[in-house]
Amino acid sequence: MKVLIVGGGQVGESIAADLAADHEVTIVDQRSERAEELAYGLDVLTVTGDGTEVDVLEEAGISDAGMVIASTDDDETNIVTCSTAAALSDAITIARIKHTKYLRTWERADRAFGIDYMVCTNLLTAESIVRVVGLPAAIDVDPFAEGCVQMAEFEISPQCPVVEQTIEEADRYDSLTFAAVLRDDEVIIPDGTTVIGAGDRVVVIGSPESVHNFADSLEPDHDSGTDEDVTVFGGSEIGYHVTRILGERGFSPRLIEQDHDRARELAEQLPAAQIMESDATDMEFLEREHVDEADVVIAALESDEKNLLVSLLARRLGADRTVAVIDTPAYVELFEAVGVDVAINPRVVVAEEITRLTQSDKAQNVALIESDKAEVIEIEIDGDSVLSGRPIRESVGDLPDGVVIGAITRDQTFVTPRGDTEIQPGDHVVLFVDADAIAATTAKL
């Protein structure tokens, strides 16, 4: 399929990199140097120009494009680009949007602006932050099979009861599969005798309850569920959505916003939350309001540096876990090394979501582990698949190394994969796949 990506920023580049292998990708960008850079770096064509102009789109080959992805940093540009594309061709249009106001319009009217899929950065970022809250020690959580299955990545701290245990000892949960252990940049596919060490990251796949129970067992002294004391810094749109979703889930979060009018506006819109008007770095205020007792501190202020500062400050005061919104991808690893527990980059989140939308029908859902080390994918099994109609014990031999069957759902119910489980056509299988094995796996299934 021919895919047109308008906007060659970090999001556009990341999507292009994912799609270039299977699709014919053309990137449109206004900056000629950037276009050149992308053309060298990736296996893509580039066109320099404004994506809202008909001439530019035609030059990029809109007439025979199967998909148009508008991924610039500007909402209005993306909307106009998609509308223009919809007027010129039958291509599927995907728009990246920051603000939820456009999303609301789009949700209300069928295919408003001629857009087929609207991907809202702020909302998606908020959702991925919320998934981490409530699961102590989790650094990444993704839902699969319409919420029947959860994938979660946990960081094992030295105090964890599972440290020095083998997988066999740690795996006390029926519907939970230990998919991988990540140790020093290495992906280990564990067997029963693998020993979990402090500092490891463990990827588990299972039913949401079992993932939750496992999370609790990692931090037994910790408040869990809606008792968690969550403090959000910054009433940005992301901060607002995080607080709103947490409120809807029964949490009573605190939100700290400096601007008087914005604080009032948030207080009116968020009855479940406690809004406070203060500077996030006012130590006296933080101590007086016992931010040190917070289980999770979420920094969603306007700049990466402020988020880092607030996270470190909260950490120093004694908050258990810090989650920070980091806009610059290069900072993510750095900030996590300095002491931010979970750094969430809105661009990565939105690129993941757009990639998800562009996947072929078979792979319905994808989550990236540590950016690119591995993927967790959800596949609907048809009759031709090597997995179909055989017990897992037999079929697993035909799969490449580095693949773990994490969970199976049949008619929306969870099936625990065991050696003698027979996978039937129509089942959804959630697989952990090492980056090296991805191409081979997709081919076999």
Binding site: I256, E257, A263, R264, L266, A267, E268, P271, Q274, I275, M276, E277, S278, F285, E289
Partner: protein, 500 residues
Amino acid sequence: MEPLRVNWRVSLRLLGGVLRWLTVPLALPLGLAVLDGDPLVPFLVPMAITLTAGVGLERLETEKAMYTREAYLMVSLSWLCVGLLGALPFVLAGDGVLATPINAVFESISGITTTGATVINDFAAHSRSILLWRQTIQWLGGLGILVLAISVLSQLSVGGAQLMETESQTQDVHKLTPRISETARLIWWLYAGITLLAAGGLFALGLAGIAPNMDAYNAISHAMTAVATAGFSPQPDSVGAFAPAAQWLIVPFMFIGATNFILLYFFIKGDWGRPFRNEEFRFYVALVVGASVLMTLLLVVDPDVTTSGIEETVRLATFQIVSLLTTTGFATVDFNAWSPAAKHLLFTCMFLGGMAGSTTCSIKLLRWLIILKSFRRDLFTTIHPEAVRPVRLSGRAVDEDTIRDVFSYTMLSLVLFFLGTILVVVDGARIGLGLSEFEALSAAAATFFNIGPAFGIAGPFNSYNPFSDLTKGAMILMMYVGRIEIIPVLVLFTRSFWRS
């Protein structure tokens, strides 16, 4: 000289419309006078005057639309003029105490403001048609305040009145258009319908022999003043003249009269849950039930109150509580004889009032609810000074300016009430009435908050006649100012109202 900034012609022209329509209700006592063979002049003359004045004022040439100032002027003038013209039949009939102009105006203003305070000391001296006019003018006062509250005051933002549920806040705008005339028509049907229901119910009790003295005249009279939460009765012992069943039946109609009529509208339209989603309504129900239970207990332990059984005790407690809390002012017993605790509970109820957007008077529960919630918020922000916590009413955040309005309105009410008390007690001492401070407080509250009966000499089965003309004049002013939410009258006395 600076030009006037108020287009008074618009106000007067609208006043003309009101006066012209006043002719119609005057026909009701006229009809009864024809039947009873009473003199017709007391009604024919006012009819001629209102019709002429009304039509005359309506001919005023003016083109400008009505704005806030014109609305205030029109509202204030309407209540005043209708009150004054309403006194004409009493003066022209010339019976008993009402022959004196000050008494006639007191009675008429007490009527149009749905107060229910009376100067009549001998009900037998007056014809049935004159007494029916008292009832009619109260019913009109109730209708007038409904239209005023729901369509005018709510838009003028008087003391937080904009918070009540009005037609403009509903999703149903295509049916309930925000225009005053449409709202008035809607309210009129609802109000007339509920009154007819009350009259029919009372009359049925009379026909069935359960309340033998409840004839058509009494049924209509009491239905009109119950729904208007007004409280005049052609009987010297008020509702106490009727059988328990009739007394019980009047309770729910007083209750309904003090409910927001827009909520009633939705309830009747089939949205049964709507009143219960309204916080003010829940507060109202809780207060009525709570105060009635407390009063029952007070009566049970009071050795001076002897009743025939628990039914009568509950009935006495519930009726008086509902009557005073909804600012109606009916009575089934002379509560002057009750214990100080019971009297004080009734006195406290005078300051509550029913819901905003109803026929009720006083400070109203909407404002009390906001004040309570705002106090609770202040307690919280004392501990967490940075907390931003809007006061919410039925889930909606209340504007801070509105909260300030509510506080200042309530404060202003209380200040005026205390000033009124001083006048009543000082002037009472001047003519040697021997008023106790509680009697003076209650008389000031009963007039300013438009309740009707007070304690002591102005008790439920007594009359306001012994007060001096000066006090009566002050009370007339208090009833008038208190009824139309103070501010529309007070702004007329500011320079900035008339000049730029």
